[in-house]
């Protein structure tokens, strides 16, 4: 009973993140929804590690790596977004062909 409810919760967060990522018109909001998606995946990993693997904790260790990669990607993403904003004064996503000049 417990495992399925937690997996449904993480699937719900993942689908909300996918919906927001597809329909966001703003690059900073896209970064926020990407963090939601990565956290939903982390909940899955930690839940499976808690229920099935309390000896080797492989899911916990992989979720630590996912947290580190998400921090890296948030830093690089916000640096790119702020340099686009400094150049063009606008962060609409449908103007994102600006990087290929």
């Amino acid at each position: 009973m417990m495992l399925e409810h937690i997996l449904v919760l993480s699937a719900y967060l993942f689908s909300i993140g996918i919906y927001g990522l597809i329909t966001s018109r703003n690059m900073v909001r896209a970064l926020m929804y990407l963090e939601l998606i990565l956290n939903a995946v982390n909940i899955n990993f930690v839940t499976f590690s808690d229920f099935f693997d309390s000896w080797q904790l492989k899911g916990n260790i992989f979720s630590i790596f996912v947290i580190a990669i998400a921090a890296t990607e948030a830093a690089i993403g916000s640096a790119i977004v702020s340099s686009i904003y400094c150049n063009r004064k606008s962060t609409r996503i449908n103007q994102s062909t600006l990087l290929n000049k």
Partner: protein, 165 residues
């Protein structure tokens, strides 16, 4: 955690409802600062949920890194780009929005019920959770650990090089 059953269930329901409302708030709020704070609520709820799942190290790492660094970074990015375009009523619900919301919410939610579960052997943990993670990171997962540190170094240098112009 080994709490009694009803308290554990009540805490799970409480955190789950916080997660559901916070997730809806991130998507549906028009002011980007409100939605960034709602994302902070979601991340704190997830960290408390990790404490309930006997994963104390991941809970502390989530609180420090996600709430303390990534959420603050997102808030900086949101406050830095305050054009006047953000405060108009931007939530035009187009046909694409409706179609995507239908697609994203009509997955088979309880198809996850068909995950098989093995017999759960309850073992005594002589070593705590953080010590086990430390042992595995230092012996079995040593190479990914070093690669993560190199990735962080390269990303830091890259972010400084991009933001310098």
């Amino acid at each position: 955690m080994d709490l009694p059953g009803p308290i554990h269930d009540f805490l799970l329901v409480f955190l789950g409802s916080g997660l559901i409302l916070g997730g809806l708030g991130v998507v549906l709020l028009t002011n980007p600062i409100y939605s960034a704070f709602s994302l902070g609520l979601v991340l704190v709820c997830i960290s408390l949920f990790y404490i309930l799942s006997n994963s104390h190290f991941v809970a502390a790492a989530q609180l420090l890194i996600y709430v303390g660094a990534i959420n603050v970074l997102i808030l900086f990015a949101v406050m830095f780009m305050n054009g006047s375009e953000y405060y108009k009523d931007f939530n035009l619900w187009t046909i694409g929005n409706g179609l995507t919301s239908l697609v994203c919410t009509n997955t088979s939610w309880y198809g996850v019920i068909w995950t098989t579960r093995s017999n759960q052997i309850i073992e005594q943990d002589l070593i705590s959770n953080s010590q086990q993670i430390g042992i595995h990171l230092a012996t079995d997962f040593f190479l990914p650990f070093e690669f993560i540190s190199i990735i962080l170094l390269v990303a830091l240098i890259g972010a400084i090089a991009v933001a310098r112009q």
